[in-house]
């Protein structure tokens, strides 16, 4: 039951539409930063700022390939987010069944 919750940075990172669009873009594989920036209607520094947030949340990785910097999706941290929510998926039914037993006098399941 007791599970470490996912880092707040992950939520922050995926909350922004531009950053989500970047993640979408990276789903097909690595993209050079110049090419990535060209796909967005904003300055390159602005795109770099978004990339930094994604990097800090460990959702993307930057690799140096020759003279290029290539970004790749590393969605592992999302697993923590998912696991956190999933832990409540098993908790609530168990808790409601406990409430039911309490109120119905701990009688055995009727079927």
């Amino acid at each position: 039951m007791a599970r470490a919750r996912a880092s707040i940075d992950v939520f922050h990172a995926v909350a922004d539409p531009t950053r989500r669009a970047i993640l979408d873009r990276l789903q097909g594989g690595g993209v050079a930063v110049a090419e990535l920036a060209a796909g967005f209607a904003m300055s390159r520094p602005a795109v770099s700022k978004h990339l930094r947030v994604l990097r800090d949340a460990r959702l993307v990785r930057e690799d140096k390939e020759g003279r290029q910097r290539v970004y790749r999706l590393t969605p592992g941290p999302l697993r923590d987010v998912s696991a956190w929510i999933e832990s409540y998926r098993s908790f609530w039914p168990a808790n409601l069944i406990s409430l039911k037993r309490h109120l119905e006098g701990r009688k055995e399941p009727t079927r």
């Binding site: 470490a4 995926v14 979408d24 999706l73 999302l78 697993r79 987010v81 009727t110």
Partner: protein, 154 residues
């Protein structure tokens, strides 16, 4: 008429829902949800954690808290604030367990009278709320889970 034993749950768009039908009136159910002695008796389960020392200031804005002990003996705390108190229909409160790093989410109970007693529905929301909800989208959340699914499948 026998009420069903199973509880259903769903995870969708970062919201967890669960429901069950109980052979007791909504008033009686509401009491179990809000009485300190009763809560200590039923909340949790031996395999997860048990609670004690419930304190509830049952009014909107009022605080509640409890101590919890994990199945492995770990001491934990639970607390939050009541947002909506509407007996015997609805109870809404924030949920801030120590084991989730004191992350704040919201729990809502809706009680509906049925032929067999009461249908209790729990809606636990606010996962990733910080900005995800404000960013406007269950859609956004769905996408997040798709990235993850693709990652796991790949």
């Amino acid at each position: 008429m026998s009420s069903t034993m199973r509880a259903l749950s769903n995870v969708d768009a970062g919201v967890v829902t669960a429901e069950i039908e109980i052979a007791a009136t909504p008033t009686r159910v509401f009491q179990s949800l809000t009485d300190a002695n009763e809560l200590a008796r039923w909340w949790g389960a031996d395999a997860m954690y048990r609670t004690s020392d419930w304190k509830l200031d049952l009014r909107p804005g009022g605080k509640w808290s409890a101590l919890a002990r994990g199945a492995d003996g770990t001491a934990m705390t639970l607390d939050g604030e009541f947002l909506e108190v509407d007996p015997p229909r609805r109870l809404v409160f924030t949920w801030r367990p120590s084991w989730d790093g004191y992350a704040v989410t919201t729990v809502r109970y809706d009680l509906e009278p049925t032929a067999a007693g009461t249908r209790v529905r729990v809606t636990h929301s606010g996962f990733g709320d910080r900005d995800t909800a404000a960013a406007g989208t269950g859609e956004g959340w769905k996408r997040v889970l798709e990235w993850l699914a693709a990652h796991i499948a790949g």
